[in-house]
């Protein structure tokens, strides 16, 4: 059961690196808080899940690195190789010379079609290595140009090429202020397109992670590296192998009584069906006990509503729209995207 991780753009590649690095470091750590046998079983399963074996015996991450300019990919490949513990495949990356300029339209309408064949071939070659493909995990930001625009284009293509595979997008929600000025436009366009092709969007908000770094981890001068490492830890926890060749996974319903309250769930879902739990015996990332909660709730309603509101406000004055129409995204496309997202907001509100 293997998942192909696709790292897109600066954000996707920086985070992807931290995910594999965290998993690899954890693999080799001795603080498993479990028996030796369990540790070995876990290690084998983890390796199989996330890495390929190659002749050199250095694990090769099951990942593809894609960016429209070379600086970040070079850095990422180098850092992985220097760690000595793992590396990326020699031919697992695709990059170009000039970035997308924070322009969703450029990522979607220019880079997308231009490099469609090369990128899909790259993915095809990787997929052929696996006995069974369970799906894709695409790490991308919403605010920029490559992760967002090319990410939306690629997700559509993957859906068409692999209709039976599970496609999950790890979407990084930008800080409320101070990353990219047109981030709200890029976000609205990305989300509305992803809705049509993706199976699940796992959202990571920079503002929330930043607070975790500040309040829970007490880091004084928070860098993007700190933020990315927290996100990597969350992703690593979510994707922990719970199934290995020897143990069947343990699956229990509602072990913690607290989640039984039906008021938490919508009327069309029985509490017993809504909550699923998977367990692994071995601890992850030096935490003796940890739990990762993935939920589909109204929690995201407010951030989504805020982004749509700000984007709409800007769109009403037509600011920056010429930058998008230059590359084929017209006002009607904006309106379509707004409509899709307003429907999503309304659906969540109605729960």
């Amino acid at each position: 059961m293997s998942v192909v991780t696709v790292q897109l753009g600066q954000c996707g590649n920086q985070i992807g690196y931290e995910v594999f690095d965290a998993i690899c470091r954890d693999l080799h750590s001795t603080q498993g808080f479990c028996s030796k046998k369990e540790n070995e079983v876990y290690q084998a399963s983890c390796k199989e899940h996330f890495f390929n074996e190659d002749k050199s015996e250095v694990p090769v991450a099951r990942a593809l690195l894609i960016d429209m300019e070379p600086k970040v990919i070079s850095q990422t490949l180098l850092k992985a190789a220097h760690s000595g513990r793992w590396k990326y495949g020699q031919h697992s990356h695709f990059c170009q010379k000039q970035g997308s300029g924070n322009n969703w339209a450029y990522g979607y309408n220019v880079h997308g079609p231009k490099h469609e064949e090369s990128i899909m071939n790259l993915i095809q070659r990787e997929v052929e290595e696996y006995d069974s493909l369970s799906g894709f995990s695409i790490i991308m930001s919403m605010a920029g140009g490559t992760g967002s625009g090319l990410g939306a284009f690629l997700t559509q293509n993957l859906r068409d090429a692999y209709p039976n595979s599970f496609i999950m997008n790890q979407v990084i929600w930008p800080y409320g202020t101070g990353e990219v000025i047109v981030q709200n436009y890029n976000s609205v366009l990305t989300l509305s397109h992803l809705y049509r092709s993706s199976d699940a969007l796992l959202v990571h908000e920079n503002d929330v992670v930043h607070k975790i770094c500040a309040k829970l981890m007490n880091i004084k001068q928070i860098s993007f590296r700190d933020v990315n490492q927290v996100i990597a830890h969350q992703l690593g926890s979510v994707f922990q192998p719970t199934y290995s060749s020897e143990d069947s996974f343990q699956y229990r319903r509602n072990p913690l009584g607290g989640f039984k309250d039906p008021a938490l769930y919508t009327s069309w879902l029985q509490p017993s069906d809504a909550f699923c739990e998977w367990r692994t015996h071995r601890a992850f990332n030096k935490y003796e006990k940890s739990a990762a909660l993935v939920s589909n709730s109204q929690f995201l309603l407010k951030p989504l509503d805020t982004i749509v509101g700000k984007a709409w406000n800007m769109f009403a004055s037509k600011a920056y729209v010429h930058q998008y129409t230059k590359f084929g995204i017209e006002e009607e496309d904006f309106l379509d995207s707004f409509t899709v997202l307003e429907q999503v907001v309304a659906s969540y509100c109605n729960l």
Binding site: Q10, P70, G101, G178, I181, I222, Y320, H322
Partner: protein, 472 residues
């Protein structure tokens, strides 16, 4: 990695350009210890062997600037070719004449423009062919004279015609009120029309501001306070002799270095690595909400670093405050009391995202942003600081505070034009007509009007736009 080409036109353009190349080499030398021709160098420099052919990888053999030097007088370009930078340029990159443009935009644009068009296109093509991915042209010129202003803006047109996909960033030195060239308002307004229509982004610079920065530094150096020594390398005005030795240094050299530093900082994030990169095309994307409003006010800090270890390094937050102070701007304007359309912070060195966020939160309340862009901040983080500093900040603001500069220009223009003073010098040039003047001033007026419309919205109560109503 994409490449950029510098097109330096006229006396001012070439002097600034020369400072830029000197500083760029110094910056790369400080970072590139192994002497390998890397991607960062590739942006502005070619690596050539003894026969003049390009070497794409490996050790540095001989670096050549991706530049085209154009002047209708020989003086400045000749000096460059005899100075320490002579090996960085070759004769194929130059176009010179002897007669000069006589401080006349019409001579620069109409006469020399048509005369040299083919040569110009050829040199530009040659330079572009040496690039595997040309992203941006940097045009450096002054507005008040004849060559930089006239021929410079003619070349801007050529760049758009011949290379429509490549970004055009223009660094324009605007004349001050007491400019010794009487016809500088004519030249500037005629040039403005071209900038309005053909530039992607303009960074206006005023000599007055540069002069004040130089004075501030001199005051600092001569203050005689015991124990204060400045790290010489870190001076934003320093030049290691691109044109002349220190003894012959003119006041303009220091001022030109400030502008050169601006260009270096602008391109740092696309040359060097960082945790939040910003490419040149992102500058235009984020800072230009409407095509004509592409004039950016720049401020650069710090101006120098103190060498004395007993004096604690300036707090990081001070750097952010300084960037929003008029003392650090390269143009005379007051952004704090006008309306921001967008703002970009290009940070270099040992600064993290939490530092930037903290400072944005702190400064926001004292600044006015347009209603549809309340959080209009674009940031970038480049890991490599400038030489001699541990961190630096370049702030670019698209702000209506530039309107008075343009209104001033229009006033000075009208003062001359109403009396038809010196017009005959222009009209006697072939294909130069009175309509050129009326169209130019009309273009300027419409630009000023656009800023007016935005200014009116300042201080009005914000109202949320009515959202789409969805039926489920």
């Amino acid at each position: 990695m994409a490449q950029s080409v510098v097109v330096q036109v006229g006396q001012c353009g070439n002097q600034i350009g020369c400072c830029f190349w000197d500083l760029a080499l110094r910056e790369h030398a400080a970072v590139n210890k192994k002497g390998i021709y890397d991607d960062a160098l590739k942006n502005f420099f070619r690596n050539v062997d003894t026969r003049g052919s390009d070497i794409s990888k490996g050790r540095i053999c001989s670096l050549k600037a991706r530049a085209v030097l154009i002047d209708m007088e020989e003086g400045v370009v000749n000096e460059i070719l005899q100075g320490p930078l002579k090996d960085v340029f070759d004769s194929k990159q130059l176009i010179t004449n002897v007669s000069g443009s006589g401080n006349n935009w019409a001579v620069g644009y109409k006469l020399f423009g048509s005369q040299y068009r083919d040569q110009i296109v050829e040199k530009l093509r040659q330079t572009a062919e040496h690039c595997d991915c040309l992203q941006c042209f940097f045009l450096i010129h002054s507005m008040g004279g004849g060559t930089g202003s006239g021929l410079g803006t003619f070349i801007l047109n050529v760049l758009e015609d011949e290379f429509p996909e490549v970004y055009r960033f223009v660094t324009s030195v605007f004349p001050s009120g007491e400019d010794d060239v009487i016809t500088s308002p004519y030249n500037s307004v005629l040039a403005m029309k071209e900038l309005n229509e053909h530039a992607d982004c303009v960074l206006p610079i005023e000599n007055e501001s540069l002069f004040e920065i130089v004075s501030k530094i001199n005051q600092m150096l001569n203050s005689g306070k015991p124990g204060i020594t400045v790290k010489q390398q870190s001076l934003v005005t320093l030049n290691e002799g691109g044109i002349k030795k220190k003894l012959d240094e003119k006041p303009f050299d220091k001022m030109n270095n400030i502008v050169a530093n601006l260009l270096l900082n602008l391109t740092s994030s696309s040359r060097f690595e960082g945790s939040l990169n910003m490419d040149l095309n992102e500058i235009s994307m984020n800072l230009v909400p409407f095509p004509q409003l592409h004039y950016l006010v720049s401020s650069l800090t710090p101006l120098y670093t103190l060498a004395d270890v007993n004096i604690p390094p300036r707090r990081l937050d001070q750097m952010f405050s300084d960037a929003f102070s008029k003392d650090y701007q390269l143009i005379q304007a007051d952004p704090k009391h006008s309306l921001y359309l967008a703002c970009a912070l290009l940070v270099r060195g040992n600064v993290q995202i939490s530092d930037i966020r903290r400072n944005i939160e702190r400064l926001r309340s004292s600044l006015h942003f347009v209603s549809w862009n309340q959080e209009g901040w674009k940031t970038s983080l480049c890991s490599i600081p400038p030489v001699g500093h541990s961190h630096s900040l370049l702030a670019l603001a698209n702000n209506t505070c530039i309107k008075p500069t343009f209104m001033e220009l229009k006033t000075r223009f009208m003062r001359l034009y109403k009396k038809k003073a010196h017009l005959h010098h222009y009209l006697q040039v072939d294909r130069m007509e009175d309509s050129c003047f009326t169209e130019a001033v009309s273009s300027l007026s419409s630009l000023i009007e656009k800023y007016n419309e935005l200014d009116i919205t300042k201080g009005l109560p914000k109202h949320e736009q009515v959202r789409l109503n969805i039926v489920i």
